[in-house]
């Protein structure tokens, strides 16, 4: 089936964007405050972040809606703002993307409740994601990105919800490497995730967070071996550490860009950055991958 995700992947690698939370904090988001409500309270500052990634050369940018599901927003007393925050989040990214024609993939993250031990049922999770996905579609998103998922069952519900509202969906899990290879927190293998997410209707699969580009290469290889969908990869730019000047990251923009070449060589279709990556890092990735 042809859709925007499949179409873009034909001209791989497609450069996506970098981290948002730390960029919003640089613009005054207090440590500990939820980023998503800023779509309503400070849309101009959120748009600055989106615009910085568009200017850096991102062909796909995300939205500030990672935590904008009912389960998490209710914990901030914002359960009645789910639709408004998601619609606004997409509109902000679309405004920034208009400068270059970049595409907007709307972010959906975990609810924080575990299906595996019955903290939330599959039906409830589906409802929560249907509500968010419908709002993201109403806002005009090109696709949905289900990301930073540690529970395959939850990810599959989110993917199915995105498909149900009629948008192409990219599904990105978070893995850790242990004695038995790469697994999610719940113990699922890369291969199990790729297969189930493909069945759920994803148009691309992959991984974000949890590791740098070098380890991510092995995950990309496992994704490629387990299925035929284009692969999404957003690695961390090192780990944060505390200095007198605040939180800084280990891996600089140039080093991150050089490491990202490995992801291209492994066949990743969508390449960007997760924690620690900046517009400067994405600019360097663009220079390295699209010279």
């Amino acid at each position: 089936m042809t859709n925007i995700v499949t179409e873009l992947s034909l001209a791989k690698p497609v450069i996506t964007d970098g981290a948002w939370g730390t960029q919003l904090q640089m613009r005054g988001l207090a440590v500990g405050d939820a980023p998503d409500p800023w779509n309503l309270d400070h849309p101009e500052l959120v748009e600055e972040v989106a615009a910085a990634y568009v200017a850096a050369g991102s062909q796909v940018i995300l939205t500030n809606t990672f935590g904008a599901n009912r389960v998490l927003l209710e914990r901030h007393g914002l359960g009645d703002k789910v639709t408004a925050i998601n619609v606004a989040g997409v509109e902000i990214s679309l405004r920034a993307a208009a400068a270059t024609g970049a595409r907007v993939f709307a972010s959906m993250g975990p609810t924080g409740k575990m299906l595996a031990v019955g903290e939330i049922s599959a039906e409830e999770a589906r409802e929560v994601y249907l509500e968010q996905a419908a709002a993201l579609r109403a806002g005009g998103a090109d696709a949905i990105l289900v990301e930073t998922m540690s529970d395959l069952a939850e990810a599959a519900e989110a993917v199915a919800a995105g498909v149900a509202v009629g948008l192409p969906v990219v599904a990105s899990m978070t893995y850790q490497r242990g004695a038995r290879g790469f697994r999610t927190l719940m113990g699922e293998t890369v291969s199990a995730c790729v297969k189930r997410l493909t069945e759920a209707g994803a148009s691309a699969v992959g991984a974000n967070c949890g590791m740098g580009p070098e380890q991510m290469v092995a995950v990309v290889n496992e994704c490629t071996a387990a299925g035929s969908l284009p692969v999404w990869a957003k690695a961390n730019a090192g780990m944060p550490r505390q200095t007198a000047d605040g939180t800084v990251y280990d891996v600089g923009a140039q080093e991150f860009a050089v490491q990202s070449l490995l992801l291209r060589d492994a066949g990743a279709a969508f390449i960007g950055g997760c924690c620690g990556s900046t517009p400067e890092a994405i600019k360097a990735v663009v220079a390295a991958l699209r010279p």
Binding site: V31, L72, M186, G187, R241
Partner: protein
């Protein structure tokens, strides 16, 4: 004592109904609650932790075992209190301000409880003041903080600073963990202990109070 070996297995395999009925039968038969805990239940949870670190167990198995442990502990705790038994220590645990992600925190709390610690669960989005209060007024020996997000982890430093300012430095130990947290970060902010997994957290808490 084959019956009690079954208690070890029931906790290890997360069979909550069996764990509870085995404990009840043993207590009815006059078994020493301290012995049930120290010889069978805590070793079972230690083995759960070992399997988790060896990637034989994952989060679901760990939580199910912890649930069996919790059920059995509820029967034993009143007897321990009545007998004046001392716990391994009191740990106040929570996610730092702004962080609502409590999966990791709950895992650590469950494993610490399984390791014989008393837990004060402060929940999510815990301010530095609330952590300090738990140490000063509720008698916590250890403050355990969790953060999933790079954007909330600076709250750990704020809390360590608040503990220092309250004059509690050295009196209460601080341990931290969570996806973006590293040993180096722990050293930099002056935390006493760090673990990158729930099972290791039990080891660290024991070391800090040794």
């Amino acid at each position: 004592m084959t019956d009690l070996q079954e208690l070890y297995t029931a906790v290890l395999e997360g069979d909550a109904p069996s764990a509870k009925s085995l404990v009840q039968t043993a207590l009815d038969g006059g078994a020493d609650p301290q012995e049930l805990l120290a010889k069978y239940m805590i070793p079972a949870m230690d083995e759960v932790g070992r399997l988790f670190e060896a990637n034989e167990y994952f989060v679901p198995e760990l939580l199910i075992a912890a649930r069996a442990m919790k059920g059995a502990l509820e029967l034993i705790r009143p007897k321990l209190v009545a007998a004046g038994a001392k716990s391994a220590g009191k740990v106040a645990i929570g996610t730092v301000r702004g962080d609502l992600h409590d999966i990791g925190k709950n895992l650590v709390a469950a494993m610490l409880e399984g390791g014989g610690f008393d837990i004060i669960d402060l929940g999510v989005d815990v301010s530095p003041e609330k952590f300090v209060e738990a140490a000063r007024e509720k008698g916590a020996d250890v403050i355990a903080m969790s953060a999933l997000l790079t954007t909330t982890m600076p709250g750990m430093k704020t809390t360590v600073d608040a503990i220092d300012q309250a004059g509690l430095k050295g009196k209460v130990k601080v341990m931290i963990g969570g996806a973006p947290v590293t040993q180096r970060f722990a050293d930099e902010i002056g935390a006493d202990g760090f673990s990158d997994n729930a099972s290791g957290a039990v080891r660290i808490a024991r070391q800090l109070l040794a």
